[in-house]
């Protein structure tokens, strides 16, 4: 692969890649995301390869194993380009028909396209399917067109133009300014203004600074980071390098999961290819800016998603948080200024640079700009990853995209933020997706996981479940968190088992107050949030006669 040393060389390369691709050439894009692979998509991919070989179509048809399409519920997913015909729940035995009928014959196979479960309406194209139709897929949209193991695929959709623009046409301050103007807020759960964080690090004393991708995705029920990072790792890398340039950092870290080999392999490959092209490493694009990245694996514990714990882990210690009286953007890894941002946050950066902060800020609400990826799970018809502009109401997401609740049940609540988040009751479903609106209601948006709960769910058990999780996944070093969780869990378990005592609820509230105020880190401080939010909106479930409340949160068949 040739090394690119200027903006014009990049464009030349891009043109070259595009010229070799006939837009009318049929392409079979098969989702190779984890959800689809778990449904046997590996066999579907092999079946297509076999069929194409058999029919001697190797030069006439492209097969692309792409990143996550998002509609995990209906996997294995296959999209046939250029018509964008979308087939759902594909099995290996459907493959010969697809190749002959659709790829060659340009005909739609009725049985394989999406059927609306309520209306019976069919939709042959991805853009017509309700799940996709109601989204705004700025970030994840490219997943269907890219094989994550091919940097050329990314270049073909315009990749690295933002990096070229940043390094060769803008100063670091200008880049920083754009990010600030766009009001990019952290997508990992903090919602902290990225521009401000970058600026603090940039202005902090010291030559050596670090930028970090938090690809830990510890929030339970969140899988959108994996969808982006496994499916389009170059987009995240591009954002990271731009950020490094703005901050003045030459060394970056990617902190990712140890339990997802596909993710690590795709990242490694992406880094290697980017380096070969000179988009990473010394003198990027001939700009004089150098930047290198290391990949670190996590040990799997929830607390290691906390920024100071993550940094300690990179240093080679057990991931224990430290109090952030001095921010990590001033003193982070090895006490150097370190900017930690989530995968999705970094993926937004090239968009902002390419299209401008004004364009970016035109989407969303007054204080939450851009789009947000959400992962739908729980008691919902359409499990998967979706992307919507901020301001979309929860109702629109759950029903318009999620397809509503299965088995005709009623919705009880939507839980955001996992073990340190909160639940939004049905009555507040018209709340717009917005950092501050949700925070006001006690259910901070977190990383964007939306756990949908139906009428049979016990909210007491939901609170108990999350505390049980935290009791094993917090580091345990400070008293208010460790002991507070221990005692709250005991009481909730007793309540669930019908052994509530007078004053238990007040005691829970008291413990929640202490844990929230005195804990060392954000995990401890928000550990009681699910409890607090369920007490706020579902207090009657706690108070009600325990006999009526025997069903735990999980289903009894």
């Amino acid at each position: 692969m040739p090394r690119i040393n200027s903006a014009s060389e990049l464009e030349e390369l891009r043109k070259g890649v595009l010229s070799e691709r006939d837009p009318d050439k049929p392409c079979i894009a098969i989702c190779a995301g984890m959800g689809c692979l778990g449904l046997g998509n590996g066999r579907v991919i092999s079946a297509f390869e076999e069929e194409v070989n058999k029919k001697d179509l190797k030069t006439k048809v492209d097969i692309r194993a792409t990143g996550c399409h998002g509609y995990c519920e209906k996997g294995p997913m296959v999209v046939i380009y250029p018509e964008e015909i979308c087939y759902v729940e594909v099995t290996p035995k459907d493959v010969p028909e697809i190749v002959s009928q659709t790829v060659l014959g340009k005909k739609v196979i009725d049985l394989l396209i999406y059927t609306d479960p309520d209306t019976g309406e069919k939709a042959a194209h991805q853009s017509e399917i309700p799940f996709y139709k109601n989204q705004m897929r700025h970030i994840i949209g490219n997943n269907t067109k890219i094989d994550p193991r091919s940097i050329d695929d990314y270049l073909a959709v315009g990749g690295y133009s933002a990096l070229s623009k940043s390094l060769l046409e803008m100063s670091p301050e200008k880049v920083l300014d754009e990010i600030k103007k766009a009001n990019l807020r952290g997508r990992g759960g903090g919602g902290f203004r990225a521009g401000r964080k970058w600026e603090t690090a940039r202005n902090a004393p010291g030559e050596e600074k670090y930028v970090i991708v938090n690809a830990h995705e510890g929030e339970l029920g969140a899988f959108m980071d994996r969808a982006i990072f496994t499916g389009n790792p170059q987009s995240v890398l591009e954002g990271l390098i731009i950020g490094a340039y703005a901050v003045g950092s030459h060394r970056g870290f990617i902190y990712t999961r140890h339990d997802t080999p596909q993710l690590k392999n795709n990242i490694d490959m992406a880094l290697a290819q980017a380096e070969e092209y000179g988009l990473l490493g010394e003198n990027i694009l001939g700009s004089g800016f150098s930047f290198n990245v290391e990949v670190h694996l996590d040990i799997g514990i929830f607390v290691s998603g906390e920024s100071s714990a993550l940094m300690r882990s990179i240093e080679g210690n057990a991931p224990e948080p430290r109090p952030k009286y001095i921010h990590t953007s001033v003193k982070g890894i090895w006490k150097k200024p370190s900017v930690l941002n989530n995968v999705e946050t970094w993926a937004n950066v090239p968009l902002i640079i390419d299209n401008g902060s004004e364009w970016y800020a035109s989407t969303g609400t007054a204080r939450s700009k851009g789009t947000k990826l959400v992962s739908l799970s729980g008691n919902i018809v359409n499990t998967g990853v979706a992307e919507v502009p901020f301001g979309t109401t929860i109702r629109e997401i759950v029903y318009g995209i999620g397809g509503g609740i299965p088995k005709g049940k009623k919705l009880k609540a939507v839980h955001f933020g996992g073990p340190i988040g909160g639940s939004i009751p049905e009555s507040l479903l018209d709340t717009p997706l917005d950092f501050d609106e949700l925070a006001k209601l006690g259910a901070s948006i977190g990383a964007g996981s939306m756990l949908v709960l139906d009428e049979d769910t016990s909210m007491v058990d939901v609170a108990r479940y999350f505390l049980d999780f935290l009791s094993n996944e917090s580091c345990g070093k400070c008293v208010p968190c460790r002991e507070g969780i221990r005692q709250m869990l005991k009481i909730l378990t007793n309540i669930r088992d019908g052994k509530v005592r007078e004053g238990d609820i007040e005691l829970l509230e008291e413990i929640a107050e202490v844990t929230g105020a005195a804990s060392l880190c954000a995990l401890g401080k928000t550990a009681a949030d699910p409890l607090r939010s369920t007490l706020r909106y579902f207090r009657d479930e706690y108070e009600t006669n325990i006999e009526k409340m025997k069903r735990p949160a999980e289903k009894r068949e």
């Binding site: 778990g38 899988f223 769910t457």
Partner: protein, 397 residues
């Protein structure tokens, strides 16, 4: 009971000088008859008796131990040592029970200096009772060898037990009622089991392994523990660095260490890679990593015990993982887990005795569309209902 020859119990008595010894003396002087099986040791207060004395007595051939002190609240010392004796006896009885010996072999009585007849009556009751129980161990169906290592296991733990007793098993009021209430309470049982019971099982396992290697099934049979419990204890032992269960090629380890430039900062990555390749981390490996990277072993131990990602004991051939993330939870993962546990006979974190399956739970691999799911050796089995579990697992050897 041995047939054909009479068993003469050997009983050791600890009598306090002020009351019980005097009482025994009076019994003698007054010619009140009682069997001669008791050998007496005189001490100044029943509170002086230490669990170590009791178990030394049992270890050296005594079939029963008797402690005699002043009546409660009549102790001749301000410290009310007889209450200490009482709580000590409650605990020792529980210890005896835990190792399968009849707790009646240990008895405490309050006898005053003037109660000669009471002493004789007590002995007339106690000795035949012990006769009936038979020789220590054999009377409970425990052979000599087993008895030895069990008593050894308890003896080793005595310093620990004493500290636990003084810190955690104190009774707030010095009254007979309060003592009886506490030592028969649910709370005492729970504290005893959590603090001492588990350690006792560990100590016994250590004692067994000190003699010769034993397999998990053997330990399970000898100690009467379920394979699940044995697996759990071995896991704890490994974390205590008290059980050596295998080795790993040194070159392999060095290769991994060098790959990460042998820096202290790469400790986590090195351990992760070894765990990934080898599926578990023998103590030897941890020692070597500690030395080569020049990091304290305590830091290594903290990391490898920090999360279930690392295993300090060998895993089964098939690692079974039941997702217990919130989406799987609301779709029924608890019932799924129950079914899996019942089928395998082990709980999360444990390995079955044939080393076929290791079970673990954990959260969210992000395949929520597959929930509830079981992952075996990396392969996803999605949308599994309890009735399908057997089919999923039967294909694994």
């Amino acid at each position: 009971m041995a047939a054909g020859h009479t068993f003469e119990p050997r009983i050791l008595g600890f009598l306090c000088d002020w009351c019980c010894y005097a009482g025994a003396d009076l019994a003698g002087v007054s010619r009140f008859q009682y069997p001669p099986n008791i050998r007496v040791i005189r001490l100044m207060c029943s509170g002086r008796v230490d669990p170590a004395h009791i178990f030394r007595a049992f270890s050296t051939g005594q079939d029963a131990v008797f402690i005699g002190g002043c009546h409660l609240d009549d102790c001749h010392y301000v410290t009310h040592g007889n209450y200490d004796a009482l709580s000590m006896v409650y605990i020792c009885k529980k210890l005896l029970e835990h190792i399968g010996l009849n707790p009646e072999r240990l008895r405490i009585e309050w006898v005053s200096a003037g109660e000669g007849i009471r002493f004789a009556n007590t002995m007339n009751e106690f000795v035949p009772r012990i006769e009936k129980l038979g020789p220590l161990g054999r009377g409970e169906g425990i052979d000599e060898h087993e008895l030895t290592f069990k008593l050894e296991a308890v003896t080793k733990l005595i310093p620990y037990i004493k500290l636990v007793q003084s810190e955690r098993l104190r009774v707030p009021d010095r009254t007979e009622e309060a003592y009886n209430k506490f030592f028969t309470s649910e709370e005492f049982n729970r504290l005893f089991n959590e603090l001492i019971g588990d350690k006792l099982a560990l100590s016994q396992i250590m004692a067994l392994l000190r003699e010769r290697p034993h397999s998990t099934s053997e330990i399970s049979a000898i100690l009467g523990l379920s394979p699940s419990e044995v697996s759990r204890h071995l896991n704890v032992s490994a974390r205590n660095q008290t059980v050596e269960t295998g080795t790993v090629d040194n070159d392999k380890i060095d290769r991994i260490i060098n790959k990460h430039q042998g820096k202290a900062g790469s400790l986590v990555q090195v351990l992760l890679e070894i765990q990934h390749e080898n599926h578990w981390l023998p103590q030897e490996v941890l020692d070597r990593v500690s030395k080569k990277l020049d990091v304290p072993l305590s830091r290594v131990m903290q990391i490898v015990t920090f999360h279930k990602t690392f295993s300090l004991i060998p895993k089964g051939r098939n690692e079974v993982h039941v997702c217990t993330g919130p989406s799987c939870y609301v779709r029924g993962s608890t019932r799924l887990l129950d079914t899996v546990q019942n089928l395998m006979g082990i709980r999360p974190g444990e390995t079955d005795p044939d080393s076929k399956f290791s079970l673990e739970t954990g959260s969210c691999l992000g395949c929520c569309n597959l929930g509830p799911e079981i992952i075996v050796g990396g392969k996803h089995h999605g949308r599994v209902t309890p009735d399908k579990v057997k089919d999923v697992l039967k294909n694994y050897e």
